[in-house]
Symmetry: C2
Subunit: 498 residues, 2 copies
Amino acid sequence: MTKTPYQDLEDRFRRMDALSGALNVLHWDMAAMMPPGGVAARTEQLATLKTLRHAMITDAALPDLLDAAEADAHLTPWQRANVAEMRRHWIHDAAIDADLVDALSRACAACETIWRKARADSDFPAVRGALQDVLTLTRRVGEAKAEALGLSPYDALLDQYEPGGRAADIQTVFDDLGAFLPDFLDDVLARQAAAPAVLPLDGPFAVDKQKALGRRMMETLGFDFDHGRLDESLHPCCGGVYDDVRITTRYDEADFTSALMGVLHETGHALYDQGLPKDWRGQPVGADRGMSIHESQSLLMEMQACRSREFLEFAAPVMRRTFGGSGPAWEVGNLARLYTRVERGFIRVDADEVTYPAHVILRFRLEQAAIAGDLKLTDLPGAWNDGMRELLGVVPPTDREGCLQDIHWFDGAWGYFPTYTLGAMTAAQMFSAAKRADPVIPDAIAKGDFTPLLAWLRASVHAKGCSLGVTDLLTEATGEPLNAAHFKAHLKRRYLDG
Amino acid sequence: MTKTPYQDLEDRFRRMDALSGALNVLHWDMAAMMPPGGVAARTEQLATLKTLRHAMITDAALPDLLDAAEADAHLTPWQRANVAEMRRHWIHDAAIDADLVDALSRACAACETIWRKARADSDFPAVRGALQDVLTLTRRVGEAKAEALGLSPYDALLDQYEPGGRAADIQTVFDDLGAFLPDFLDDVLARQAAAPAVLPLDGPFAVDKQKALGRRMMETLGFDFDHGRLDESLHPCCGGVYDDVRITTRYDEADFTSALMGVLHETGHALYDQGLPKDWRGQPVGADRGMSIHESQSLLMEMQACRSREFLEFAAPVMRRTFGGSGPAWEVGNLARLYTRVERGFIRVDADEVTYPAHVILRFRLEQAAIAGDLKLTDLPGAWNDGMRELLGVVPPTDREGCLQDIHWFDGAWGYFPTYTLGAMTAAQMFSAAKRADPVIPDAIAKGDFTPLLAWLRASVHAKGCSLGVTDLLTEATGEPLNAAHFKAHLKRRYLDG
């Protein structure tokens, strides 16, 4: 029994998926478990596995197999979508040679290590050389992929994270949002100043209680602990593989609210992974539909569902019981004010949903310039601070609170940042569609029942894998392509009318 | 600059080592971290990585490179030893084809999962089919390697774990030991019956205190937490890689002594890994010298050093402080009796050092017969019980306490068991040599100072990597090849004269 070209491709991509899964577990381990002295051996492991994965996808047999599978008239629609994803991966990966993959993997590992110290010391010059190495290699990747894809280098990098995403389209929706936000922010801050002050929740909040609360809330949202874990790491993340999803958070004994919301955010990511189509495990079409959709799932849970008045009605008594809290600070109204507080701040990951887009717009602007060669790294700290002044009206006092704050560029993720705000807009659009489709959703959330919401997400998003493109997926799910209207409406409702 | 054949081989084996390191981390994760639903994806990852590793070592270029490197007159002695190890790995791995590697990996993963339930249910027939699959594939591996190595199938399997080890030589030392032990055991039990009864240590012993004690003792022995971790798993083990050594144990709130001694045992393994020659990281010659030497390092710490009167003099007050213990049960004399209690039991991992060899001799006998095709798996439970009656005078009431107790065969480790008792004899021989070389060792241990002992082990064993064969390593370190005399002398001193 010889295999058809399509079957041969399925076998090859299943092995590549296993290799990627191994890489994911090793990355999670590095963040959550690995002792500091393990970094050299781990760097070698990651680089070796990436090189092997690259060798598998650039195997000389692939082009003919892809051509033959694309010409196969007997494939089902999902199989055809699978081949299209295989082609997509092949174009991206075959565009760059093994030496570049290896060099970039090592440069990122080295730069990330230097960055950790440089950030702690607020010393950008200490990491600039290592970042230049990463940027130079990333630009080479961008140029090679640009040629293969017929795109600009930035769009080619963006396409890795956001399939079909183009800077010009993003600019259009960001311009829409950018025109709306500054005045809106002024209005929100004025309204907030006139509202009752947020009463502080007095700690300390023991870490083991925070963990128990996090697990309880993960279960409420629908996380399956038979197929995942919750751990700690410096940089909260969601890793692992579909059937073994590893989320992490960090705890602050003085404040349980940020770890809790971080857990709910990562749970949104995890639910997407756990809900991917079981029949397509290990195949490209069985994977998630890229970063903006992935981020939409975390932000839908964190921002849309779990900062809503309904959720806090359910959660407030649970919080009070967990920590023995009582009094007006623990009432729903105060918790809602706490969880929707808006502030012009320096740090993206601490930003509220109103100011967050400004952080992303700044990074989107700067990374496009850096990839185009129009921004020198010596000018990055200054350009960062200028942008912060223009977009948010504040200037970080140190580079630690400025251009050193995010791991992404130092770890080689260029073209990634816009997906955060695309995700926020997508989340608003989806949550609105979900509530239209099933009006019981808000009341159910108020009772701690996420079943109706999760059912809609499973059917409309998770189970689709990447059988559809981003725009088709969103249009089928919500009835319209991506636009800023739902996000703006959500912000107005929550921050001006609420 | 073209690479010499030797340099080319170094690069290739460094990548293979990185792949093996990744496999080790994934195995550790599976034991200590993975949720149950992750098993299917992990099985795929492990099989894929093993197949890739196999493909790297069976690359068509290897035979010529090895020939050329062996003919290179400019190599240093360590480089020559490195090439000899490369050749050894190549012979073992090239003897079997990729399909067999893959099939065995999957059969082991499937069988291990079934075994966990079958052991819990004490239902050998439930796992017999899966074990037959593993055995059939293992016999095929044994036959293929036998042909490549010019050995019997059993010796070929044994050689994977114990380089140069041969069943006939092992039989000779086991016969020596087997002739000594039965009468000796009677004497020990008679003497023990006449001694004061062991007073129980009353718990419960909180797990967090047990963990703290374990960590404290690991540090005392010399474990470097910058390059390793302590975690929990059902089956205590030592995994990871030289610069990132992961040991695990399991805790029982009713009894802290077994987890503690387990930690000290695994720490012995870990110190070996952490002490391997830094200049040869990632190269075959930089690895440990096989299983009997590895086990000797754990048993030297656990059995020779840490059940000694000297160690307990240091440890008893630490234990008392940790758990708030007081009274005669916590005196050194009682703890020494507790830690040297001898009993005819069913379970190997719970066995004392006097009865342990009988457990191994039974398994050695049965696995040789199974590999030779002289023992059918339907007859295994009966043969097990007959052997227990003959060797130890007890018969397990259930298969859970009989042939289902150990993971090894179900996980594909055939030819492994004799290394435990070889390790016990090697440990006695080495500890005796270490004390002759540096007589301060026992007094230092009594003060909680393992520096002199570790210095001897580092220089005489750890830093050698596998630049020497097992026999040469042991002879250089102790002045004589392996024999049972030191082990017997140790047992007599501790159990009859002590």
